[in-house]
């Protein structure tokens, strides 16, 4: 049993756990939303609806996987693959515990940001290749939103990086043993949280797929497992953002000894996942231009200011 960092078994284990967690989240989210919205949610399949995800998967795998005749076939097929690949690759650098992870990279933060940028291609290609006006509107919105919010996401992280002096996520966690970065980097945390929701385009920032406005946005024409990949990738993205917040601002695996470090990581990450789901239940969706204005006129100056102040404090001490 080789469970060291980067061993094939570890990689397989992490891949499996991430995908299963994301799939389970579909049920968890529906149950939680049901709980918060005074209704039951899926409760028929299995114990308290726990097998709902299996039923969903059977359905989605056996559905006709239809490629519209007017679509650009190559990019239409490739698009859902891209998003799936990049979100899963991002997990490579996440440190789950002191000795659990895929790689221990010195450019971990940069790698995650690079993958997030590549994710924009997926929704853009998916929307454009569909040759559908709703999908076109969705992908235009997605491109603008993801590219804009990447900027603030990157800048909001620089405070943490400056404090640690490293791009290595593992070192970032270790440097928080004296205190989590949520305290000195609170503004950075808030901006990262907002940008994270925008990157994973979930409500309230699900503007690229705003159901009430543009049906399903960029994945309007998708069906079967190709749709399923967009769908699951969204949940994996949710796990990823929650993991990143845990690592960057909440001390990752750090916690009292009575629980193993992986458990601490999981508990914190799940807390954020639940928070994101609650947000979906609670907040209305801003308009596309309002989101852009908010980003460029408010978040950008704020994140720059945060970076400047952090820098000044580091230099002065």
């Amino acid at each position: 049993m080789d469970l060291s960092i980067g061993s094939p078994l570890t990689i397989g284990l992490i891949l499996g756990v991430v995908i299963i967690t994301a799939a389970l989240l579909i049920t968890v989210e529906r149950r939680l939303l049901g709980f918060w919205q005074e209704r039951l949610g899926p409760n028929r399949v299995g114990w308290f609806g726990s097998l709902q995800v299996v039923a969903d998967m059977i359905k989605i795998f056996t559905k006709e996987d239809w490629i519209p005749p007017f679509a650009d076939k190559f990019s239409f097929v490739v698009a859902p693959g891209i998003i799936m690949t990049v979100v899963l690759l991002s997990f490579a650098v996440i440190p789950f515990s002191p000795n659990l992870g895929v790689i221990d990279s010195n450019i971990g933060v940069l790698f995650v940001l690079a993958m997030a940028s590549l994710g924009a291609y997926s929704v853009m290609l998916g929307g454009l290749s569909s040759d559908n006006k709703y999908a076109l509107l969705g992908s235009l919105r997605a491109a603008a939103q993801m590219i804009s919010y990447e900027v603030f996401m990157g800048i909001s992280l620089l405070g943490v990086i400056a404090l640690t002096g490293s791009f290595n996520l593992r070192e970032i966690v270790e440097s928080q043993s004296d205190g989590w970065y949520i305290v000195p980097q609170f503004i950075g945390f808030v901006i990262f949280l907002i940008a994270g929701v925008a990157e994973s385009h979930r409500l309230p920032f699900d503007i690229p797929e705003a159901e009430q406005e543009i049906c399903a946005g960029y994945h309007t024409e998708y069906s079967g497992m190709k749709f399923g990949m967009f769908f699951v990738a969204e949940y994996i993205g949710l796990v990823l953002i929650s993991s990143l917040i845990t690592v960057l601002f909440f001390g990752g695996w750090l916690g009292p000894d009575f629980l193993p470090s992986v458990a601490w990581f999981a508990i914190k990450a799940f807390g954020f996942i639940a928070f994101f789901i609650l947000m979906r239940a609670a907040v209305p969706r801003p308009r596309y231009d309002q989101l852009m204005t908010y980003g460029w006129l408010f978040l950008l100056p704020l994140s720059l200011l945060n970076l400047l102040v952090t820098g000044a404090i580091i230099l002065s001490t």
């Binding site: 939303l33 918060w36 159901e211 239940a281 609670a282 209305p284 969706r285 308009r287 231009d289 309002q290």
Partner: protein, 592 residues
Amino acid sequence: MKTAVNTSANSEFAPNLLVGLREEFEQRILAWQTTSDNMPTIWVDRKDLTSILIYLRDKAEPRFEMLFDITAIDERVRVHRLGQPESEFSVVYHLMSFSGNRDFRIKVPLMDADLNIPSVVSLWPSANWYERETWDMFGINFEGHPNLYRIVLPPTWEGHALRKEHPARATEMEPFSLEDEKAEEEQNALLFNPEEWGMKRESENSEFMFLNLGPNHPSVHGAFRIAVQLDGEILVDAVPDIGYHHRGAEKMGERQSWHTYIPYTDRIDYLGGVMNNLPYVMAVEKMAGIEVPERVKTIRIMLAEMFRICSHLLFYGTFAQDVGQLSPIFYMFVERERIFNIIESICGARMHPGWFRIGGVAQDLPEGWESRVRELLDFMPPRIDEYDKMVLNNGILKRRTQGVGAYSTQQAFDWGVTGAGLRATGFEWDFRKNRPYSGYENFEFDVPIAVNGDCYDRCAVRVEEMRQSLRIIKQCVDNMPSGHYKADHPLTTPPRKEKTMEDIETLINHFLSVSWGPVIPPTEVTMAIEGTKGINSYYLVSDGSTTSYRTRIRTPSFAHLQMIPEISRGFMVADLIAIIASIDFVMADVDR
């Protein structure tokens, strides 16, 4: 407390108005007609129509601000037309004066050989759809109309449905078949051609994108289509297309008996439930001369207000949902469900009880109804306050809806907007207050208004209306009069049972009334109420028979949808959704 009854404002003809009219148009008025509702009704020739409409709109005292309705009557087989000029098709214009609180009806006689009449779209923009509908249904040509296409029937329809020779049932027609040739023809008729919709393909700088929103779209609340002309995401124009939900409710009125038509009215504004019965049964009662007991009036009001709350709750929830807030709709459905349970225990059905009867209601209130209704009065107010916190006070929702889709009171008059949409512009006018019907004059309640007339205000007005409805329901519970739940009148349908067993004559009457239905004396009447979505009125023409000769249903949603292009130009797609949501319509109410 005022003791006026509905249309009493019309019962004494306004002296100034009529004197002025006589002076100006004495020679040109063909006839004065008396109707059961005492609404001034004149017949004029089509060449004088425009001038008399201009006079009534601009110079008359009081001025008639709103063109409430345009419709027509196929008079060719009508028997009782005493004192009316010769006519095969009469076009009926219904004007409304808010400043003078009265109505006016103008009829224009036309002959089948020459069905032409000048269009009045230039006077009231709202005339556009009404004229199209009249053309669609009767084949009356409105000269000078900008686009006289079919509006509720499909473009390939043959004939005009409300003409008397047009079949009313499928069994009167050939069996339907769809050959390849016809299928292709139908498909070609559906091809989108922006020019037909009055839109250009490109401007100097950009080529427009046409987005087909509907007939099936998550946010169009039924089968409703809007052809959207986009420059980027900015709306250049948005042309609504209706008719996907047309059931021919008015045609059905001509073959159902007066009594058996009641359940059809439930399904006009399908969120309004028994409130839809109210204008219909009141109109029939007016023609029959039935005075209903106080208890009936109060029961009717109580149920109508419960349905108003149900309808507003659904509006509130979907409004929040269309702005992207997912949860409120679920909370509001819980409330709605509780109210439906109460309604069910009273009427026996939930959404469409069809419970009002000509001259009364179907049954008396069940035992213990008070405690159940009091429960409603207890649980609702805190929940509405909670929703205020969640929806109306939400910052993002405010930014999404304030200043979006605003219009002024004058615009509302021009487009025939009534109900909360009119009150949101700051104009305090509620049918229940200004022309009390069914005993509303005995209740204390306020008419909420707002000032900006935007999406947010329309929502806020409706929320406050729910509170006022609760006040009215409370007064109903506290002061429910005793008495019978049916009027003691031979035309009450079904008649009071206990009298039928006394002698052979009442037994025969009962038998006829149940088997054929009541025979209503020949007359005409318009009865309007403050419906859930605006003013809902029934214009009934009786020819002294067991069925209606003509049933005209004027619904608020029809007029409201027509206004969409006017208030959505220059906004974004997301705003269009907010505007649609704020209008509060159901397509069954639009298409009938």
